[in-house]
Amino acid sequence: MPDTAFWAVCLVVVPLFFAIICFVRSALVSILGPLAAWLNAIAALGMTVSFVHSGPVRYAIGGWQVPLGINFRIDGLSVLLIAMTAVTGLSVSMYASGYFSLRIGPAREQGRHQHQRAYFWPLWLLLWAALHGLFLSADLFNIYVTLEITGLSAVLLTSLSGKAAARLAAMRYLLVSLLGSCSYLFGVALLYRCYGILDMAVLARLVSPAPLMWVSLALLTTGLVLKTALFPLHFWLPPAHANALAPVSAILSGLVVKASLYLILRLWGDVFAQVLPLAAYLLPGALGCGAVLWGAVQALLQKRLKMLIAYSTVAQLGYMFIALPLIRLDHGSSAWEAVIFLIMSHACAKSAMFMAAGSIFLKAGHDRINDLDGIKEVLPVTSFAFVVAGVSLMGFPPSGAFIGKWLLLGVSLASGQWWWGIMLVIGSLLAAGYVYRVACHLLVFKAPFYARRQFIPPVMEWSALLLAVLAMLLGLFAGYPLGLLEAGSPFPGHACLEVMP
């Protein structure tokens, strides 16, 4: 029986291998890509199952223990995020296989679409591998390399659509990404100089308040916040996410921003949690509030569906930053759990929304929100998927986002800093507003709808619906993910189960 570490290695090695093969044998991508996606999902499942049995693991790559070598740290947080990546990634992959086969179908512009497919798969698999590597790694510099792969492949995927707007957005994204990584690397360099260590778990025990530590934390955070697109550094996100191809948008919004967000949570919630004063957490919290308001207002003003969804990402990311001060205030672990629910639920819901928007675009030939009346008649499943995803984004029970908001609300009320909770509620109402703007057009009955004679493969419709329903029902099965979290707790409050050399 393979153990947790074996599966963890598979999670990195398999997508890398398939990315290479997809590049060399580009005629076979339509088989190799989905195959790799399934293998990834199996590996993630295998890792989760064996993690449940055997608990958190440290795996020394090359047999070199910390501090010399790079270690995988497999704890509850990373397992959950990998499970999230696997589910979302698999759905997006299925969607993408339908998407590209559909578009390659008609003879017009066949070469172009074949080109897109041939490069989509290797880039996406590299991105996937980098995400896995990032979630698994315990080493700050190794994480820099994975961040760099994530950023570069995300940029390249964005520019794949070939549209001028997409290329400009990709350019901007790339520059932001470079700036972010550079700042992050600077932070890592200073930390290394200060403590002579790159492993996060060891670092967490060594950190002490020193000027250099403050500066390096500021640099790390600035870099990561740029990549996460926290308000007011979100300017690059909406055009990039809105102009990419549909499966790419789903990946970018659902998964890629979560990578740097995860690191911020690790750093602020775990590594530096012991030395940071409460006041330091107010800044991300306040910026999160700004993001919630600004993102929602911008989303309300958009005329195009994909822009609306992209701005909603900006708003939703705000919640996770509002959670930071609450993580600090909370004595138990419910704020942590809340953030994780928000992240997982957002990944599923947002990917589903972008996938649905892609199908709608292909069918209607445009994505102007006001002209979508009656699309339900031609794309019932997709419309339903969009609405369900939107509802779970609003934080309606029993979605995962509801659990997250509920827990955060409880923490904020209990800690006396009730304004964070009120912000969450206001954010939900605003979210309801912009979801409604779309949903009222998607739900209304109006026949006949003028649609292109474009056949949308069922796999595209149903994969979106599956993700949306998953986001909606995540709350009902909240106990399982939490079990995982408690098994390998990243929380300062719990016993640290790190296996140290």
Binding site: F23, A60, I61, L156, L190, G196, I197, W214
Partner: protein, 347 residues
């Protein structure tokens, strides 16, 4: 001696930022790139001064040489496009002038800029102060590396870190290079040689002499990497430089390499590295845990393959795009892809 060194240090310390400032302030982009290359060489000198010969070699070959070449080629390409679109440009400029932002915004800009600058300066002062203030962890991981050198199969500490202790980093780094090649292929086709670029016969004959020499040097660098400065990246960079020279001299053979072969050459390093990482697990260790006795051989094998791929990758990056595929379909797609999206393609 010490005072001479100090003088040298101070000159370098001052020259680096000065060059950096000059190159960004230079109105001429060509000049900026040339200054960038000289900055790279100066950096390389600095690395030597700071006892980092491996980094110095890599900086000279990759940081200064290849990056500079990339910049120059991009610059030429941009200028050519601008020349052909000058008239179109003019019309657009008129259009933009009409839609110029209101004057109020312009006035507010210097204030915002000043504030941002102030913030930046404040942060830098803080940074510098904290650098001075904070005690540095002595030696970092140096002693740990020295203690474990016996089990790595190589003598050079940097190579040991790169390919053994932190081999996983290097594996991913090779993947970054692969990603860059993949990305530039996904973006554009290969650049056709410009008329003014067609090399003089003198250059061609020089290249014929130089390239075999460079290949030997590259091989030597990879070989020596296990004990002294050098290794896959440095060797690969020299190979890449050879490739660039071949492209510059427009040796027809280079452009006629079949695309499939090129693809295999690009992935040889990453693939072999990955497979040997897995093979280590097969043998019974962890990922990338070479058997202790034959670690040196493993590393040399990986380094050689990686060097070849790095060389090909760097040359391919310089070439700037995917080679022309024989199939007509791809050709049809190119046109659409290059001309940008049409209205049905808003996605």
């Amino acid at each position: 001696m010490t005072s001479v060194m100090s003088f040298f240090d101070i000159m370098l310390v001052l020259a680096l930022p000065w060059l950096g400032w000059r190159l960004l302030a230079s109105p001429d982009l060509f000049r900026a790139v040339v200054l960038f290359i000289s900055l790279g060489l100066l950096m390389s000198l600095t690395w030597v001064r700071l006892h980092a010969p491996d980094v110095a070699l890599a900086e000279a070959a990759i940081g200064a040489g290849l990056t500079g070449a990339l910049f120059l080629s991009a610059l030429r390409r941009l200028e050519r496009m601008q020349d052909s679109e000058r008239r179109l440009d003019y019309a657009e400029k008129r259009e933009e002038e009409r839609q110029a932002p209101p004057a109020r915004r312009r006035r507010s800009k210097p204030i915002a800029y000043g504030l941002a600058l102030l913030l930046l300066v404040f942060f830098l002062v803080l940074l510098g102060w904290s650098l001075v203030k904070t005690s540095v962890s002595p030696g970092g991981l140096g002693p740990a590396v020295t203690g474990q050198m016996g089990q790595t199969g190589v003598q050079s500490q940097v190579t040991a870190v790169l390919l053994n202790f932190r081999g996983y980093d290097t594996l991913l780094e090779v993947m970054v290079l692969f990603l860059a090649a993949l990305g530039s292929w996904s973006l554009t086709r290969i650049r056709q040689p410009l008329p003014e670029e067609v090399a003089a016969p003198v250059l061609a004959s020089l290249v014929r002499l130089l390239v075999p020499l460079m290949i030997i040097v590259a091989g030597y660098l990879v070989w020596i990497g296990s004990s002294r400065a050098g290794g896959a990246f440095q060797g690969g960079a020299v190979l890449g430089a050879a490739g660039v020279l071949l492209l510059l001299a427009d040796v027809t053979v280079v452009r006629q390499i079949p695309s499939a072969l090129l693809r295999w050459a690009l992935v040889l390093g990453p693939l072999l590295f990955l497979l040997s990482a897995i093979a280590c697990m097969w043998i019974g260790g962890n990922l990338l845990e070479y058997p202790r006795q034959s670690a040196g051989a493993w590393i040399l094998l990986i380094e050689s393959a990686t060097a070849v791929s790095i060389g090909v990758t760097l040359a391919a990056l310089y070439a700037g795009g995917r080679p022309l595929e024989p199939s007509a379909l791809e050709e049809a797609g190119e046109v659409a892809s290059e001309s940008g999206g049409d209205e049905g393609e808003g996605e």
